[in-house]
């Protein structure tokens, strides 16, 4: 009993006589749930206050950092949003980001799902080495390879301008280079939990390996596909370093690069526009999140259990 100290539940933990047990349990029940709500409310407050600040900055008609408070005090206007579209190429950045992040996420989970299928269901020489080297490559701080990437793409721009610098396609190819990696491990872990009898029986019924993959495995791993797609989408939208080297034309920039440029020079004056842009950037992510929400919790842990 003494070991209870340390948990808030413990505060109600006096030795209970049998006849009082019911009443006490009830009061304890209230205290237990009340405590949980308190924690949740505090956590929500911690989560939300910077977002509230961004919201207030976005609605602040003066649009500067110094005049922004946690709640908008100097009136509310949508001027910052209007300015964002009038004075910058925000619409271009937005479309570029969606295109690159969406397509790269889709293609990379597809490549990853195929590789994970092979790693999980087939036995071939080099399987262990392959799996380990996938992990190992990820641990090299990849962006330090940026000089090499720059040199590669300088040549590619000369040869094939359509997939060179300042194009979404070149950047997407580059992101696909990271398609196999941690995600492949996550998916392989998930495939491993599916009983082998499923695909064996399908093979007995005359299904080809492609049919097994597309009609049996892929639908079953939908949760983990959703999670990796989401992680990859968020990661790509937030990727700044490589994109910053890659995209120099105003109209070909992504949100991360464009908006960094907005506050890099004039930190105070453009803050309202920057906050407005931040909110708009969050919209696609939140939508994807809501869309995939039912998969996410189960997917994250199912992958986690097997790593």
């Amino acid at each position: 009993m003494t070991s209870l100290t340390g948990t808030p539940v413990a505060t109600g933990g006096a030795p209970a006589a049998n006849r009082n047990a019911k009443g006490r349990r009830k009061s304890r029940w209230f205290r237990q749930v009340g405590w949980r709500h308190l924690v949740a409310v505090l956590a929500v407050a911690f989560s939300l206050f910077p977002i509230l600040f961004v919201l207030s900055a976005a609605l602040n008609p003066r649009g500067t950092l110094s005049s922004t408070d946690l709640v908008p005090t100097g009136g509310v206007s949508l001027e910052n949003f209007a300015n964002l579209f009038d004075r910058t190429a925000f619409a271009h950045w937005f479309v570029n980001s969606l295109l690159i992040a969406g397509l790269a996420a889709f293609l990379s989970i597809f490549l990853s799902a195929m590789a994970a299928y092979a790693f999980s269901r087939m036995r071939f020489s080099g399987r262990r080495v392959g799996l380990l080297s996938l992990l190992l490559i990820q641990m090299f701080p990849q962006f330090l390879a940026i000089v090499a990437i720059f040199l590669i793409f300088t040549t590619m721009t000369d040869l094939w301008p359509t997939i060179g610098f300042n194009t979404p396609w070149g950047l997407m190819l580059l992101y696909l280079g990271g398609a196999l990696g941690v995600n492949t491990w996550l998916m392989k872990g998930f495939y491993d939990t599916l009983p082998r009898e499923l695909d064996e029986s399908a093979t007995m019924d005359g299904a080809t390996h492609a049919q097994v993959f597309f009609r049996i495995m892929l639908p079953l791993v939908a949760p983990i596909l959703a999670v990796t797609a989401l992680l990859s989408f968020i990661g790509t939208i937030n990727e700044f370093l490589i994109a910053n080297v890659f995209l120099t034309n105003t109209e070909s920039k992504t949100l991360a690069v464009g908006m960094f440029g907005l506050v890099a020079g004039e930190r105070n004056n453009n803050f309202g526009m920057f906050a407005a842009g931040t909110l708009l950037t969050a919209v696609p992510t939140v939508l994807v999140f809501q869309l995939l929400q039912r998969y996410i919790v189960s997917g994250l842990t199912a992958g986690a259990v097997k790593g």
Binding site: V39, A115, P141, N166, T203, F213, A302, A304
Partner: protein
Amino acid sequence: MSTSLSGPEPATQAPGREPVRSGLPRKSRTARNHAPITATGLVVKVVLLGLVAGIAIWAAFPLIEAELWVGLAILAVTTAGLCYLYLTRRHIPAKYLVPGTLFLIAFQVFPVLYTASTAFTNFGDGHRGSKDDAIVAIQSSSVKQVPGSTEYSLSIATKGDPTAGPLVFLLTDPRTREVSAGDAAGVRRLDAGQITVSPTGKVTAADGYTILNFGQASARSPEITDLVVPTSGGAIRSNGLSRAYEGKAIRAYDAGCDCVKDSETGKTWTADEATGSFVAADGERLAQGWQVNVGLRNFNRVLTDPNISGPFFGTLVWNFAFAIGSTGLTFLLGMAIALALHSPRMKGTNLYRVLLILPYAMPSFAMLLVWRDMFNTDFGLVNNLFGLGVDWFGETWSARAAVLLVQLWLGYPYMFLVATGALQAIPRELTEATSVDGASPWQTFRAVTLPLLLVALSPLLIASFAYNFNNFNAIYLTTEGGPFPADNPTVGATDLLITYTYRLAFGAQGAQFGFAAAISIFIFAIVATVSAISFRRTRKQEEVYS
């Protein structure tokens, strides 16, 4: 070498998608043999392989034009390999692995190996190219205007963005009124039909070029001053924004003594192959050198140079503290909240959950910048709210605490999500059994819940550690590594190895790619070792669970 890699890429997308459609039509279930070939599958396969071949042919023409035969050979072999792989019935694992692997090799393995190989060279500012490049650069930068040299009318132009695109000089010869375009690669004559020349001789429009107006040009005047266009007898340099002159090089390379001579002062600089630079008798080095192999010197420098190794180990300790701190704090907070919400009697958990994970959905690059501004001394929210005047990023420990707090905010929603999922996966019977046996909630948590959570989440914790160890954005977008001690502007108190390395490689003090690559190999070794050890330990644990 680098060019050749790009060839196969567009091609691989197609085979990657190939089986999608071949799988879709449900084809004769009567086929009982082991690997029936469905007609639709075959058609789709052929169409997509045709597409691959088409893309390969498209990619081949520029390669042939540029006479890059190695690249062409790699392209041909890759395409042929892909066709073979998807037409044969053997090598089934490869059919699934090859598409992703091709991208991996071209855009990760190759750049990483290339970077690693530069760790053994002195690649960096002043040591970029070959010796010949260095000689050309020395000669053309020593160009001086001499009596009688040609003066050109100059227009500044670019083929790209007026603010960032590479600069081109459009030069009008005053006597012949012929126009040429010059950049660092040399001069090219332009057709008279492509250009419009004003009566004063300045080019006002040219096909394919954007002429910079006066404001744009003066904004880039340092670049314009630095641009040297090599010519046969010397080089062309700008003189203001509208005139340029062709001058004579006063320094010249002499192959006989393998040295550079200055014709005005008579001073000579002899080539030193060990360091890749021209050195004079008095020890003076010319700024333009070339790239040479330096063996292990970069690695030695990290370990022995007191100016480097002192800060290096200090940074390493903080780097570990940061990675463990961000991972541990986010996990603890996320798990605590997940435990609080994990109760069948709890109402409104869905609403709480949606609100709690909002930070995870916000763009982190933007939120890092917002946090940076919230910690601003003069008008930041944190100081305003609490009526403080703390210079958060100015003091070592407040800056470190601030950075960790930001990481906590960004990272705990993820841990909360993951811990919630893992808690739901723990069988109820286990916790019920312990309470039937008389264990207190705390004992249940310590003996059952926490170990199971850790087993489930330790791979993610390790991954999170490895990620935070190299979390460049977290530092670069907030403190930029600062505060810096007064006596050493290269390493700040919140610098991670990765931001320190970035400053070395791309910083204002001149790029040292070779040295930065050596440090990145150290980083790689550290992260790989730590992860390998922890993975070994979790593997053992996991066997208990599965």
